[in-house]
C-alpha cells in the first residue's frame, strides 16, 4: 500500500469518525435524526372540521404542518376573520351568521388561500337561556409522560336516545383543552342537550396532520364533575371493556 492511499484511507476514517461524534450526540439528545427545516413545512390546511354549530355561529378547526397565521373567509359574507398568532393547530369562531343558512368558506394559511369543499349550515332554531358550563382535561402524548402540545380535539355526547352536536377545540401548549357546553344541542331535534347527567363522551384527538386520529370513550357524570380523566395517546385498540354474558 503506498503512502498516498494510506493517507486517503486515514483521512476517510477520521472524516467518518469526526462526523459521527456530533451526529451521535444529536441523536442521543433528540431521540432521532430529524433535521427538517420549518421553512419547507407545508402551509396547507388539513383535518378541516366544522364544530360547535348554533343558529348564529360555528367553529372551524384545522391543522397545518408549518406554524402560520390563519384566517377564514366566509364566501357568502366576504368577511375575513383571522388569528392573531402563528400556530399549527387552528380554530376560529365565526359569529353573526344567519339562522338555517348554508355557507362555504376558504382558509387563508400563511401566504396562500385554500378554498374548501366542505360547507356548513347553521341550525334552524335559537338556543334558549344558555349558561356557561366548562369541562376540561389534559392530553399526554405517545411518550406517556410529556403533554401533547398541539393538535385538535373533538367531543360528542350520547345518552340512551340522543346524540349531541360535535364540539371542537385545539390542544394548548400544556396539553390542556376545554369545552363550553352552553350551546350544546341534540343533532336531530335541535333541542338543548341535557348534559348534566351521566353520558358517554366520545373524544377524538387529532395529534397532527399526518397521524391517524385516536378515539377515547368515557362514561362521565357531568352533573358531578367538570374534569375529564387524563387522556393518553398510547393506545391498545380495545373495542370493548372485557366481559361475558351470564
Amino acid at each position: 500500500m503506498n503512502n498516498k492511499l494510506k493517507q486517503v484511507l486515514t483521512f476517510a476514517l477520521l472524516f467518518v469518525f469526526a462526523i459521527s461524534i456530533p451526529v451521535s450526540i444529536y441523536i442521543l439528545k433528540n431521540g432521532n435524526l430529524d433535521l427538517r427545516i420549518s421553512a419547507f413545512d407545508s402551509e396547507e390546511p388539513v383535518k378541516v372540521m366544522v364544530s360547535d354549530r348554533t343558529s348564529s355561529s360555528v367553529k372551524i378547526l384545522w391543522i397545518t404542518e408549518k406554524k402560520v397565521f390563519g384566517a377564514i373567509k366566509i364566501n357568502e359574507i366576504n368577511d375575513l376573520i383571522s388569528e392573531n398568532f402563528e400556530t399549527n393547530s387552528h380554530f376560529l369562531q365565526i359569529n353573526n351568521l344567519k339562522t338555517d343558512t348554508n355557507y362555504s368558506f376558504s382558509i387563508y394559511s400563511g401566504t396562500k388561500e385554500f378554498p374548501q369543499k366542505i360547507t356548513f349550515k347553521t341550525l334552524s332554531f335559537h338556543e334558549s337561556n344558555p349558561v356557561n358550563y366548562i369541562i376540561y382535561g389534559q392530553v399526554f402524548d405517545k411518550t406517556g409522560i410529556k403533554v401533547q402540545q398541539k393538535g385538535l380535539i373533538t367531543i360528542e355526547f350520547r345518552n340512551s336516545n340522543s346524540k349531541s352536536e360535535l364540539l371542537g377545540t385545539t390542544i394548548n401548549e400544556t396539553g390542556g383543552f376545554q369545552f363550553n357546553l352552553k350551546n350544546l344541542v341534540e343533532t336531530n331535534t335541535g333541542r338543548n342537550f341535557q348534559y348534566n347527567q351521566k353520558l358517554d363522551a366520545t373524544i377524538t384527538i387529532f395529534p397532527s396532520g399526518d397521524e391517524q386520529p385516536i378515539v377515547k370513550i368515557f362514561t362521565f357524570d357531568f352533573s358531578k364533575q367538570n374534569q375529564i380523566p387524563n387522556i393518553y395517546l398510547g393506545d391498545i385498540n380495545l373495542d370493548i371493556i372485557p366481559g361475558v354474558g351470564e
Partner: protein, 223 residues
C-alpha cells in the same frame, strides 16, 4: 503535503468537537426512564404486546371456591387478591389480554385476571383486575364468576393485594357504572398507585354496563 493533511485533520477534529460541545449544552430531550412508574407510552405498549405470558399459577387449586387461600397458604412471591368483606381470596393471573375473550375466560378458571397493559402493584400506576360476575350467586363458583359478590362493596371498604412478597392495603374511593364501550377507563396510567376492579353490571352479570371499583393505596408492608 503532510502538513496540509495534518492541518485538515486538525480542522475536522476541532469542528467535530465544537459541534459536539454545542449539542451538549442544549438541554436534553431524551425520554426519562421512570423505573417506578407505569408509563403508557406507545413503545411500552408495543413491548408489552410482543411479550408472551404463560399465565402459570403457582398454587394449583383442586376444589374451586371464592376463598382458595389464607395468608399462610399463599406463595409469598405470588399475586393474590383478598377482600374479606365478600370472603374472596383468589390468585391473580398476570397480563391477561382484554382483547382476547378466549384468553380471559380461560384465566378465570384459575382466578382473577390482571389486565395486560396495566400496572402491577408497587409502582405508580393503575392495577386493573377483572373477573366474571353473575346475578344468580348459586352459580357463581360453577361459572368462575369471582366478582359476583363485588356488588356488596361500598366506599371505604378494604382490599388487599399480595404481590412479590409485599402486602398492599387499598381502600375503595369510587364506584361507578360505565358503558362497555368506555374503553378509556381501561388504562395503566394513574398519578398515584391505584387499584381498579371491574365486573359486568349493574345489574350484576348483565352486559349492558360495567362496574368499576377504584381503590387507593393506603399502606404496604412486607409479608
Amino acid at each position: 503535503m503532510k502538513n496540509l493533511f495534518k492541518v485538515t485533520i486538525s480542522i475536522l477534529l476541532t469542528f467535530a468537537i465544537s459541534i459536539s460541545v454545542v449539542f451538549l449544552t442544549i438541554p436534553t430531550k431524551t425520554i426519562l426512564i421512570l423505573a417506578n412508574t407505569f408509563v403508557p407510552s406507545e413503545n411500552n405498549i408495543n413491548n408489552i404486546a410482543q411479550s408472551t405470558t404463560s399465565h402459570e399459577v403457582t398454587n394449583v387449586i383442586v376444589q374451586k371456591s371464592f376463598n382458595d387461600f389464607s395468608e399462610s397458604s399463599i406463595d409469598k412471591f405470588g399475586f393474590y387478591l383478598r377482600i374479606d368483606k365478600i370472603n374472596l381470596f383468589k390468585a391473580i393471573i398476570p397480563d391477561v389480554d382484554p382483547r382476547n375473550k378466549e384468553e380471559y375466560v380461560k384465566s378465570w378458571e384459575n382466578g382473577i385476571s390482571h389486565g395486560k397493559f396495566t400496572a402491577k402493584p408497587g409502582i405508580i400506576g393503575l392495577t386493573y383486575l377483572f373477573a366474571h360476575a353473575v346475578s344468580n350467586k348459586s352459580q357463581a363458583i360453577e361459572k368462575n364468576a369471582w366478582f359476583s359478590y363485588a356488588d356488596e362493596l361500598v366506599l371505604n371498604d378494604k382490599i388487599i393485594i399480595y404481590y412479590k412478597g409485599v402486602k398492599y392495603y387499598y381502600e375503595i374511593t369510587n364506584i361507578m357504572a360505565v358503558s362497555p364501550k368506555a374503553t378509556a377507563f381501561y388504562t395503566g396510567a394513574s398519578m398515584v398507585p391505584m387499584l381498579r376492579l371491574q365486573y359486568c353490571g349493574p345489574p350484576t352479570g348483565s352486559l349492558g354496563s360495567r362496574t368499576l371499583v377504584d381503590a387507593l393505596l393506603i399502606r404496604q408492608e412486607p409479608i
